[in-house]
Symmetry: C2
Subunit: 343 residues, 2 copies
DNA sequence: TTGTACGCGTTATCAC
DNA sequence: GTGATAACGCGTACAA
């Protein structure tokens, strides 16, 4: 009943009268054994109830098959979806994931990275924003970042610029006279800044009445509502009588803004069109389904892991040829038209 | 520049003219060295740029400090919040987490568990529902489950029964003549079944007009809306003129139901009170903030890891005293009153 | 307080 | 096709 000691290759070897080497080969290169002997070993594994130990394997061959992930939080649906998709690639590539939540704490994230390195991770996926990419690049380990400052490391990002243009142009096409973009002040180095730039470039090129309203959103829903309420007042003051196309930086904010309007007017007024960003569930589940710019999270996740795996495999070759320049992949967003832009 | 070989205790030992043992002690029992010598070693580590290797340590002492997690998905906010809270306990207990997404695939989950065991995890947290607890108990490794069938293993669950009573009694207190609970058909072995039982027991004891409407909800929002629309019709037929208290099995469904009413009547009719379950963001971010029964996810997560750590620590003692009976912790829910029950 | 010698379970190298 | 032996890097009796 009680099985004190772990069964090892030695035990199997004794039991089958082979050597440890042959047992190892059974696992890593079975074709080099005769079918008979494979059979014998397979039976022995069964008899002795052998359980493999991948820790010993890491020590021996240096391949942990671990990927580290540092993600800011799972509060936003964007991140939880992304994590889901990343974890799901286990079925494709076989890499296991050690996950840490960053929480905007730069020093904590450094500790996490050290811990990950101590466990011999082969690669690192970073979604948090705190540690500069230059420092990350110094880690001497394959790295891919997602939707963050990425000057010195490989990355996969949504084409935020195109997203900004898509949002603005849909609002314009549907007859808006004034375009308003509401966003938090954003570091131009972040990919998300592209949304603002795309919006502005579109408006300027088309010579449209427009404005960017900056609000320093916190994650508190009540504060968001308060700030959006201020923004609403500002818009109604400046653009009375005009059809207003409002492009918000996230679906959460778009939903909050929509609720504000509904509670004030009982319905979405005819002179307001709304667009969110992310295509998170809230956009579909809002009182009035909200048009939005959807990020292809499944594609981004796959491309990120794929790009990382590529680098990790390269490293295992006898004569590795590391990348000379960081690779930056751009994934197109998808415009999703729902009711808040149909007037 | 290039650092071919990893620095090991041997290198440090040579450099400092100590033995490997002393270096090891510097890390695991520094007080046993003189302060001077600690200093010397600390400097050597710095000089040689030593990086610890915890894989070797696992092999040597058997303590991986890994906990495995199998979670059904991160689509529901409940799960992503739970995962966040679990991962956050790293700061308290120091255990690292290997995470797999279950996706309702029983055989896949068995593969995940084997993989986790191969990496010498010290404990396992299960949130998915597929593998029977009896099978889990056979794994001979500390296990804690959260909100699932748990007959043969330790678990932490919300007091669903109390939640059902709280919901029903709030609706009753606020003058509802008919209480309706909408839920999916639920296995009585699952903790979530308690919500139905609590609801029913309350209604029966208070002799109230009531009904449970079962709808086999899929995760598709449109289908949910359709099914809720049917339920609405059923209620309006049976309980016309009565004040109806509707208790839905989740906030997502409560929000869908609320939107249905708003779009039909332009506002929440006076003869409808609504309650959700979970206190997920959608309940606060709905057009009309929805009253709900909140699960204390932070407490549940902490208690789960804590219960697991307890078992893991016990195992490491020279004379371990394993639990004779699985421990089941019950966490009280919190009633959250918002606008949908204030009439 | 410090050192010696061996074990942890697997893989890699070189033989045959 | 198979085997002996030395790594991999750290922990731990036991000894001094």
């Amino acid at each position: 009943m009680e099985q004190k000691k772990n069964i090892t290759f030695s035990d199997i070897a004794k039991y089958t009268h082979f050597s440890k080497t042959t047992i190892s080969r059974y696992f890593n290169n079975p074709d080099s054994l005769t079918l008979e002997n494979q059979e014998i070993i397979a039976n022995a594994l069964e008899e002795l109830n052998y359980k493999e130990n991948k820790v010993a394997r890491i020590l021996a061959n240096g391949k942990s098959e671990f990927i580290g992930i540092i993600i800011p939080n799972l509060f936003y649906h964007y991140y939880s979806k992304m994590l889901t998709q990343i974890l799901s690639t286990y079925e494709i590539f076989g890499y296991k994931f050690l996950v840490f939540i960053g929480n905007e704490d730069e020093d904590a994230e450094r500790r996490y990275i050290n811990e990950l390195l101590a466990y011999k991770i082969e690669g690192l996926i970073i979604l948090s924003h705190t540690i500069p990419s230059q420092e990350l690049a110094g880690l001497q380990i394959p790295i891919v970042t997602i939707e963050r400052e990425d000057q010195y490391v490989c990355s996969v990002n949504t084409d935020n610029y195109m997203g900004g243009i898509q949002a603005a142009s849909l609002l314009a096409r549907n007859g808006c006279g004034a375009l308003i973009h509401i966003n938090a002040p954003t570091d131009p180095k972040r990919p998300a800044y592209g949304r603002i730039q795309g919006f502005l470039d579109f408006c300027r090129e088309k010579n449209m009445e427009h404005r960017v309203i900056y609000k320093d959103f916190q994650s508190n829903y009540n504060q968001i509502q308060q700030q959006l309420s201020d923004a609403l007042q500002e818009m109604e003051g400046s653009y009375a009588g005009m059809k207003k196309g409002v492009f918000l930086s996230s679906d959460t904010n778009a939903n909050a803004f929509l609720n504000l309007l509904i509670r004030k007017y009982g319905a979405l007024p005819d002179d307001f069109l709304l667009m969110g960003f992310d295509n998170s569930p809230i956009s579909a589940e809002a009182v009035i389904p909200i048009s939005t710019v959807g990020q292809q999270i499944d594609v981004i996740a796959y491309e990120a892991v794929s790009l990382l795996v590529q680098q990790m495999e390269e490293r295992k070759k006898r004569r590795p040829v590391p990348l000379t320049e960081p690779v930056h992949k751009i994934i197109a967003p998808i415009l999703i038209r729902r009711e808040t832009t149909e007037k």
